[in-house]
């Protein structure tokens, strides 16, 4: 089941990239997708049933809008720090507790953290994620955990768990 889902996703991706429906192209795509599936199927997500629950796609759409807004804010934030003559930075690495269980959810959380204002995910060890922050505004763990990962975690929980 896992392998079949991965095969279908890869085949659709191939069709989008090449964008033609001649038989040669279909055969090439199918062979390439089978080879890739055989090699990488064991790294694919567990619990494929989640792909067929439409409520998750709705929350994914909501999450996408929040993500794009945060991404735009991040860019203006970086532009302000770079263009300011004195460069107001106060960098450091902080440690934040994770509340997500699944691997794919954690991956998406790390990606969102990398794209939000002033933070970049460095490593995940056990239940903690290490984050390089360009401007540490408070040293209290409660406050900055909420500030960094709080807005994404509740949506990601609805999508992936």
């Amino acid at each position: 089941m896992r392998y079949l889902t991965l095969f279908i996703i890869l085949f659709l991706f191939w069709l989008l990239l090449t964008f033609e429906l001649s038989p040669e192209n279909l055969i090439t795509g199918a062979v390439a997708a089978v080879i890739t599936t055989l090699f990488f199927g064991r790294f694919f997500v567990r619990g494929v049933k989640k792909f067929f629950q439409p409520a998750r796609y709705f929350w994914l759409l909501v999450y996408l809008f929040i993500f794009i807004w945060e991404c735009l804010k991040a860019n203006f934030d970086v532009a302000y720090r770079v263009l300011h003559p004195a460069m107001p930075i106060k960098p450091g690495i902080v440690k934040v507790k994770l509340n997500l269980e699944s691997n794919i959810g954690r991956t998406f959380l790390a990606m969102s953290i990398t794209m939000t204002p002033g933070t970049i995910a460095v490593d995940i060890i056990d239940d903690h994620i290490f984050i390089h922050w360009i401007f540490i505004s408070s040293t209290d763990p409660e406050v900055y955990s909420k500030k960094i990962s709080g807005r994404f975690e509740k949506h990601l929980k609805r999508i992936f768990e």
């Binding site: 990239l17 970086v78 970049i120």
Partner: protein, 116 residues
Amino acid sequence: MSNIIGVILLCIGILFNLFGCLGLIRLPDVYNRLQSATKCVTLGTCSILISLLFFFGFSEIGIKALVAIPLLFFSTTVAAHALARGAYISGIGLDKRSIKDDYKGQVIEDQGDMEQ
């Protein structure tokens, strides 16, 4: 009309690329440079790819540009993460102005998950 919107999007994209490169030159150490460069250059290139949609419409080329955008997001974020981790493990320290370092002493070197 749509050509003009496309050119405006191109200008915005190149402006963001400029901020990213400026950060790459001005900021003090590897991690800060990675921050500014990754964010700004990714959004700038996304804006350039979206401008393609306004020049050619929803044809073959527009769909390809839309496929390229998530690919770009995934690849740059994962690359930034790998570079930051590799830089820390190889012993490149933080800048003098840093005020906090929780990662020190937690580093586990990865051995053997990539056979020689």
